[in-house]
């Protein structure tokens, strides 16, 4: 036997009280921990013991296992486990995935905290029983089943080894106490003291007590030192993680600052996953849906001049959440749905939106540039944008000084812009509409749409914008939008940089916008109105769609299914209650069966004698029908009689079917007792004879 395995069984029951109290202190179950510990230790004062059989222990364990699964499932469902898992697996953004991981680990931690409760019934029963130790096979459902079905099968060594269940239980309790750490310093020293006290009886008595104490002290000091070190490592990791996350920041959700892909070489990767679902009664495309507007360009990034978002007081709009334009009457509506991250999502809205309404109560925040976002929304936010006529007459937000600013540009960018402006004859005096027409015309000829940027091969142009404007004349929408904004500013037109979606794919009853439908364009203030100036060649959509993955329909199918499930879950408030009720009923039934001690009753052939186990072959033999029939006529077979003996006794030589009966018997016996079974032709022969006889 393994010396370590025997080690754990050599000693008397350990004290579970300190471990349980430690756990109670940490997990805020003070009273429970003390009570549970005292209940276990009370057996030391009493000679009363219960008589619990091994099979009862099996049942206790099965009950505990069901409890384990049940509590796990409950926590998983009650704490929104499925949506976190989906966020982790299919999350669009690193922060969404991270949030998923955090939520899942929080669920796991609370499950860990509960573990001592779950396994307590088993340990309490054992503590008060006469059984000193249990074999490992008690804890294995597989071994239990095997022992029941194949009593002769050899039991593996490990299953025969004995264990004192209090030891593993204390390990679980101590593990559970680590789930929440109040006063980490005190906790660690207390934990070490408890572990040391528990392990003391197993220390080698060949050494002097002082030596042993010294060793223990040394190990404890090492543990404390390692703990300090771990803290530092954790801080380091946190820092690293933050840095990584910022580097790969998600563009879609940051309405204050957006990093462009200007200057990135190679192919711009765009995902085909569905971002927006737009229900529309109108067959024309929804056009540009703006998510955010920016007015400050620095170091290849667009940002806003004012970072603050202010909450909109929805109460004043009646049934609507936000009324952008109180005069214009809406003529049509788009219902847009999207996933939110932590309850927040940018509102993608067409330019002519007059009002926004939402199904569930949420907040809307907006900033000075007109970017709006949802707050405290459900995992899937569904909002309706009510649209007015295509050209709203009301004045929009006033322009700011920042809308004309060209100062933040690098020298190379600035030179290139000035060079092109000069070439196009743009200056402060150019009429606004003429300037816009000139710029649009400039980009319409001689420029190409490309997601591919050549690595800079000793180019004369020192910046990506200059490279685009003067050399390659090929780029994606960010190039066009950025240069248009900057060129129009040279003509004195207040301009901003807008990002959003241009939905391109139809689905039944509406449109969808994919990741690759993301678009950037320029907004210019002309004659007191902000208008969209989109200079990107119209071919961009086909270019993007060409890179559609052949698996995309499949992926869309999954996406739709997930979306439908999520909206169904969101809309019916009863689902969680229903799931939990069903789970409780199912688990309760299982637990009741276990405690009642009944086994699964499978369906047996109507005529088979009760079998010792399910592994016996041939109990479905057709010959049993013949036996039943003969028993009715000739009288019962004695239990010890074999079929051959009995048939020889009851079937007279003159019986017309005697040879058939014995042929069938022979086939039946092969079916029953030959481990190789009966070949199919013989089996059908048996069925045929039995059919004739019966």
């Amino acid at each position: 036997m393994n010396p370590i395995a025997s080690h754990w069984t050599r000693f008397a029951a350990p004290w579970a009280l300190p471990a349980l109290v430690l756990w109670g202190w940490q997990a805020d179950f003070w009273g429970w921990g003390l009570l549970m510990g005292l209940l276990i230790e009370a057996r030391r004062l009493s000679s009363f013991r219960l008589d619990i059989s091994p099979s009862d222990f099996n049942r206790f364990w099965n009950f505990n296992a069901i409890l384990f699964v049940g509590v796990g499932l409950y926590l998983f469902i009650a704490r929104e486990g499925p949506s976190h898992v989906s966020a982790l697996v299919a999350g669009e953004t690193p922060s969404g995935r991270l949030a998923g991981v955090k939520e899942i680990s929080a669920t796991a931690l609370s499950f860990l905290r509960w573990l001592p409760f779950i396994f307590y019934p088993m340990v309490l029963a054992h503590a008060w029983s006469q059984t000193p130790r249990l074999p490992w096979s008690t804890f294995s459902l597989y071994q239990q089943n095997r022992a029941r079905n194949h009593p002769l099968a050899p039991v593996p060594d490990w299953a025969n080894r004995q264990v004192h269940p209090t030891y593993p239980y204390i390990a679980i309790v101590l593990l559970a106490s680590t789930a929440s750490t109040n006063h980490p310093g005190i906790y660690l020293s207390l934990l070490s003291a408890v572990v040391a006290a528990l392990l003391w009886p197993t220390s080698n008595t060949r050494f002097q007590v002082l030596t042993r104490l010294g060793c223990l002290g040394g190990v404890l000091a090492l543990v404390l030192a390692a703990n300090q070190g771990l803290g530092h490592v954790r801080e380091l990791m946190q820092e690293l993680e933050n840095r990584l996350l910022q580097g790969g920041g998600d563009q879609g959700f940051d309405q204050i600052r957006t990093f462009t892909a200007l200057g990135n070489v190679g192919r711009l990767k765009q995902s085909g996953s569905i971002v927006l679902r737009i229900a529309s009664t109108n067959s024309t495309a929804p056009g540009l849906l703006r998510e955010a507007t920016f007015n400050r360009f620095r170091a290849q990034a667009w940002s806003t001049s004012h970072r603050e978002f202010s909450q909109i007081e929805s109460a004043s709009f009646g049934s609507r959440l936000w009324r952008r334009d109180s005069e214009t009457q809406p003529t049509q509506a788009l219902t847009i749905s999207r996933h939110t991250a932590n309850g927040s999502a940018p509102l993608a809205l067409p330019d002519n939106t007059v009002a926004v309404s939402e199904i569930a109560t949420v907040q809307i925040e907006t900033n000075s540039l007109g970017s709006a976002r949802l707050k405290e929304a459900l995992p899937i936010a569904i909002y309706t944008a009510e649209l007015g006529p295509n050209h709203l007459s009301t004045p929009a937000q006033p322009s700011e000084a920042e809308d004309l600013q060209l100062d933040g540009l690098s020298d190379a960018d600035s030179e290139a812009i000035q060079q092109v402006a000069l070439q196009l004859g743009l200056n402060r005096g150019t009429p606004h509409r003429e300037a816009i027409a000139t710029v649009e015309k400039h980009f319409a000829s001689g420029f190409a749409y490309s997601l591919w940027q050549e690595p800079n091969r000793k180019s004369k142009a020192p910046s990506p914008l200059a490279e685009f404007l003067l050399n390659t004349r090929a780029g994606h929408c960010e190039f066009y939008a950025t240069t248009t904004v900057l060129l129009l500013r040279t003509a004195g037109i207040p301009t901003r940089y807008a990002v959003g979606y241009s939905p391109g794919d139809r689905i039944s009853g509406g449109w969808i916008a994919r990741g690759r439908d993301a678009h950037a364009w320029c907004r210019a203030l002309v004659d007191g109105r902000w208008i969209d100036v989109d200079t990107t060649p119209g071919i961009w959509r086909e270019q993007e769609a060409r890179r559609r993955n052949f698996l995309e329909p499949l992926r869309d199918g999954f996406s739709h299914a997930r979306y439908r499930f999520a909206t169904w879950r969101q809309s019916s408030n009863q689902w969680r209650l229903l799931t939990i009720t069903a789970g409780v009923i199912g688990l309760g039934w299982l637990a009741w069966r276990q405690l009642r001690g009944s086994q699964w009753r499978g369906m047996r052939g109507t005529n088979a004698k009760p079998a010792r186990s399910s592994s016996i072959p041939g109990l479905d033999s057709e010959f049993y029908a013949v036996v039943l029939m003969l028993e009715r006529i000739q009288g019962k077979r004695l239990p010890h009689e074999t079929l051959l003996e009995w048939l020889r006794r009851v079937v007279p030589h003159s019986h017309p079917y005697r040879t058939n009966i014995f042929e069938a018997l022979q086939l039946h016996q092969r079916l029953r007792f030959d481990p190789m079974g009966l070949p199919i032709p013989d089996r059908s022969r048996l069925a045929k004879i039995a059919d004739t006889l019966a």
Partner: protein, 316 residues
């Protein structure tokens, strides 16, 4: 000839059975059981009153197989060295030379085995269980086919020593031949007017044939359920009232192997409860040691085993 062909091996059995039954009239069933033990690699103990044909049967089996055959007549003054062999000092070579005893053979007929002292009887223990003999500190292996067929008179008879329990356990089966029916006895007389039919018995198998038969028997399949039935039967002998010592796991093995042989003789690929029940009494009865009370109360081992067979429900 092909080893894997069961028909060839079964033909060997039929020839042996026919040859022996031609000599010993009216013992077809017992011959079948002896051959089952023979084919299963076990040893046979024949037990009955003098003159019932024990020795004839044993000699018939020995003659039917072309194999080295020795016969030891056990007497009270027989010593272990008379069976195993003895080392004699050779003055020419100035070394001890081992002279093999009668146990170094293929078929050994131990006639009236219970007339020798237990010391001598025990000399056969190692040979029967392991197919080897340790003499003077050297291990000597016996031939591959080593088969002991022993006869004994009922123990109550004068001048007999009961076999030690360990020795009894080494015999796969024990059979009581019993008196044959008057018709058979009459025909027996008719055949022996001029000479003994044993004289006309022609060998019909060689050692290789017997080994082939044994291999074929091992191929017979035993299902999990049948193994369980066998163990249930043997286990019941240990719990039955009046039994001091039940049958050993060696008995379970012997019961399975002899059942396999019977199944093979019946042209079956698998063992059925009928085969087990047929041979159970012969395999189990002689291994039981009864309580003195049961012994003197007239309990019969065979009746006990038959009772057990009626207690344990048979798989159907």
């Amino acid at each position: 000839m092909n080893d894997s062909n069961p028909h060839v091996a079964r033909e060997i059995y039929r020839r042996l059975h026919h040859a022996i039954c031609g000599v010993v009239r009216g013992q077809e069933i017992n011959v079948r059981r002896i051959l089952a033990a023979f084919a299963a690699g076990g040893h046979v103990l024949l037990d009955d009153y003098p003159g019932t044909g024990k020795t004839t049967l044993a000699k018939a089996l020995a003659r039917a197989v072309t194999a080295r055959f020795t016969r030891v007549q056990f007497t009270p003054d027989l010593l272990p060295s008379d069976i195993l062999g003895v080392a004699i000092y050779n003055q020419k070579t100035t070394e001890f030379e081992f002279h093999e005893g009668p146990v170094f053979t293929e078929i050994l007929l131990a006639d009236e085995i219970n007339r020798a002292s237990p010391r001598t009887q025990s000399a056969l223990l190692e040979a029967m269980a392991e197919g080897q003999v340790s003499v003077e500190g050297n291990r000597r292996t016996l031939p591959h086919l080593f088969f002991v067929i022993a006869t004994q008179n009922p123990v109550e008879f004068r001048g007999t020593y009961p076999l030690p329990e360990a020795q009894m356990d080494r015999f796969a089966i024990q059979l009581e031949l019993g008196y044959v029916s008057p018709e058979h006895e009459a025909s027996l007389l008719a055949t022996q007017v001029h000479d003994h039919p044993l004289e006309h018995l022609k060998p019909c198998a060689v050692v290789e044939d017997v080994l082939r038969l044994r291999r074929a028997v091992q191929e017979v399949r035993v299902s999990e359920e049948m193994r369980r039935y066998i163990v249930d039967l043997v286990g019941a002998t240990r719990k039955t009232q009046g039994v001091r010592l039940g049958a050993s796991p060696r008995a379970s093995i012997a019961l399975m192997k002899t059942s396999q042989a019977l199944a093979f003789f019946d042209e079956s690929n698998c063992v059925t409860p009928d085969h087990v029940k047929e041979i159970a009494v012969a395999v189990l009865a002689h291994r039981l040691i009864l309580d003195p009370q049961a012994e003197f109360g007239g309990q019969n081992r065979r009746v006990l085993v038959e009772g057990i067979l009626r207690q344990i429900p048979s798989p159907v």
